[in-house]
Symmetry: C2
Subunit: 364 residues, 2 copies
């Protein structure tokens, strides 16, 4: 092979997540319940499904590279201007782009130990260094993250609120206070993928014009459109415009843009999702308790459950659930890895889980 350039040559061929389809191919059979990827089993808005379906015959046309109408709809939804909006191929894609914009080889970035691995994947991709602060009581630790950013001279500080994989959250005011103590030259990446599912007051009261923060949202969680790969960021216009320097300008197809606009228009569906999530969280918590697991409080579309022992035990439980046909995931490092993480399911999926969990525990 002709040699790669030095930064990629030094990277491992790593994959941020193994998909459930890969596990199914290894097992030789499909999962009965898909509860590991924090997808929305409540499903997308019927308006989005209809828009996607109606746009199928128009798939011969490229999407608008400026995503004018989609950005206008997002801006209206948030009470900002389209110049505050960046759209892209999921938060994953946007995290990659912000790392392209902000990180040079040897720069530092800060996250929490066990937080979203795709951020670390993109930091490594730039030849930059990722430093991580431990969680504190199953929450990301604002003070530790800030101290680490100061100590390393970090260019980026990543925090998710609500958090994945623990499901915990901070009041939005805590995040806003954090922003006030960022070291100079450090941009806060605020991942609010799950904020539509969180209690009132979780959304950080930070204006889109604040140059210290870029916040990320997605259509993959509350909007139930993970399969479309559509995310966006809100930030100051000059930073938003800088994405034009590195983004895949025609990366968002026409059907995807139309489906996103339709999804945003369906406020009733979002309300329905919230009510559904409230009930599904309660039932998932009950299933956990019925089996001797401790459900952690959740501000998301999943419930993380303390399995009561260590990572080896939780891993064995996860694998036993897989053998019972239930796909779930778990945090990586200790002490988070005493837990398994189960996405909210519909009645069918939760019935399967309720039946499978005691059987999985009996396998251990």
């Amino acid at each position: 092979m002709i040699g790669l350039s030095p930064i990629p040559a030094a990277l491992p061929t790593s994959v941020p997540f193994t998909g459930p389809e890969t596990l199914e191919r290894r097992m030789g059979r499909p999962f009965r319940a898909r509860l590991g990827a924090n997808e929305s089993l409540y499903g997308p808005s019927p308006k989005a499904v209809a828009a996607l379906s109606a746009a199928a015959h128009e798939a011969w046309m490229y999407g608008d590279p400026e995503a004018h109408d989609l950005k206008a709809a997002i801006a209206a939804h948030h009470g900002v201007t389209p110049s505050h909006v960046v759209v892209g191929e999921g938060i994953d894609g946007l995290l990659g782009l912000v790392c392209r914009l902000m990180l040079a080889q040897g720069d530092h970035a800060v996250t929490s130990q066990g937080a979203y691995p795709t951020f670390g994947f993109h930091v490594a991709g730039m030849g930059a260094m990722l430093d991580s602060a431990p969680y504190r009581d199953d929450h990301e630790d604002p003070e530790a993250l800030l101290a680490l950013a100061r100590r390393t001279g970090a260019r980026l500080l990543y925090i998710a609120n609500p958090d994945n994989p623990m499901g915990s959250h901070h009041p939005g005011a805590t995040i806003a206070a954090m922003r006030d103590h960022l070291p100079a030259g450090c941009l806060m990446l605020l991942d609010e993928a799950y904020v539509d599912l969180a209690p009132e007051g979780t959304e950080a009261p930070i204006p889109a014009d604040d140059p210290r923060v870029i916040r990320f949202r997605t259509f993959s969680k509350a909007y139930g459109l993970a399969g479309l790969r559509l995310g966006y960021a809100l930030c100051a216009p000059d930073l938003a415009q800088a994405f034009d320097k590195v983004r895949n300008h025609f990366g968002l197809g026409r059907p995807v843009q139309l489906a996103g606009i339709a999804a945003l228009s369906d406020k009733a569906h979002l309300e329905g999702l919230r009510a559904w999530a409230h009930q599904a969280r309660a039932r998932l918590g009950q299933i956990a308790r019925d089996n001797g697991l401790i459900p952690l409080p959740s501000a998301t579309n999943f419930v993380t459950m303390d399995a009561g022992r260590d990572g080896t035990h939780a891993r064995a439980l996860l694998e036993a659930l897989g053998q019972e046909g239930v796909f779930v995931r778990m945090p990586g490092p200790a002490p988070l890895n005493r837990c398994i993480r189960i996405s909210l399911g519909d009645t069918t999926a939760l019935d399967i889980l309720a039946e499978a969990l005691p059987r999985a525990l009996a396998r251990l």
Copy 2:
């Protein structure tokens, strides 16, 4: 704004192409005929449309990050193994990734003067240098490209066969011979976006295992699925695997993957497209001649026409066509810019063009 890292800070906020939607917003009315982006007015396979539409209600699920089934279908189509296949968000997205993998700041890459701008956009994005060789008789010039690559120590040599924007092509054997004279350490990027529309023998007889070449294909042209953003590359397995280091692993949604598989399965649609293109090229050539323009031979889904004078004249004609409601594009540098480039249209679009072109010429 918090400062960007040095490479992006030095980049212009450039856009490879202005979309027709932007032009429509400026004009305040839609185009009557969309003949500028080399989309397929023949449209996608009904099987692909049906697959996309049927997948809409499954859009809550992420796509398989390994795109196993799609890669298997592509591999079968080409008689290679899935390990020779990379899939991504259009050829545009894949060109960005190959630049990430191969180029460091200050490296050189080679293309033709007036060839596909998005390649140059991604080269610049890495802080690398783009050198370009002139076309020769409206064809990319293999010898000049090779000489330039040798002189600059280029890491990448880009050539499209058939070519965009001129519509010309070389026999595949010429490209294979070119490969034999690449300087050491230089990877050839062979863009075959239009090859399904080209004469027999245009596809380069280069095995996928050849470490000196990576070839790019798309669902945007012959398959009529530009709005899905689905492209792929064929190359040696070790290079293919290296894309895992930098790609957006969940970047291809589930509906897109399913539509791609369905499109590949419809051989009759591809045959129909070829017959349609043959007729549409003939009619487009006749429209050109009827108006005193000289159609260049085309191996693509567009016809580039010599408007008989210089770039100023061709630009004025393009703008006059826009005022008549017809969206077309034109090459950038001289002497290519004596031409305008018109995509193949259906009867409706070509009827509009036939009526608009004399009116546009009369405006000059």
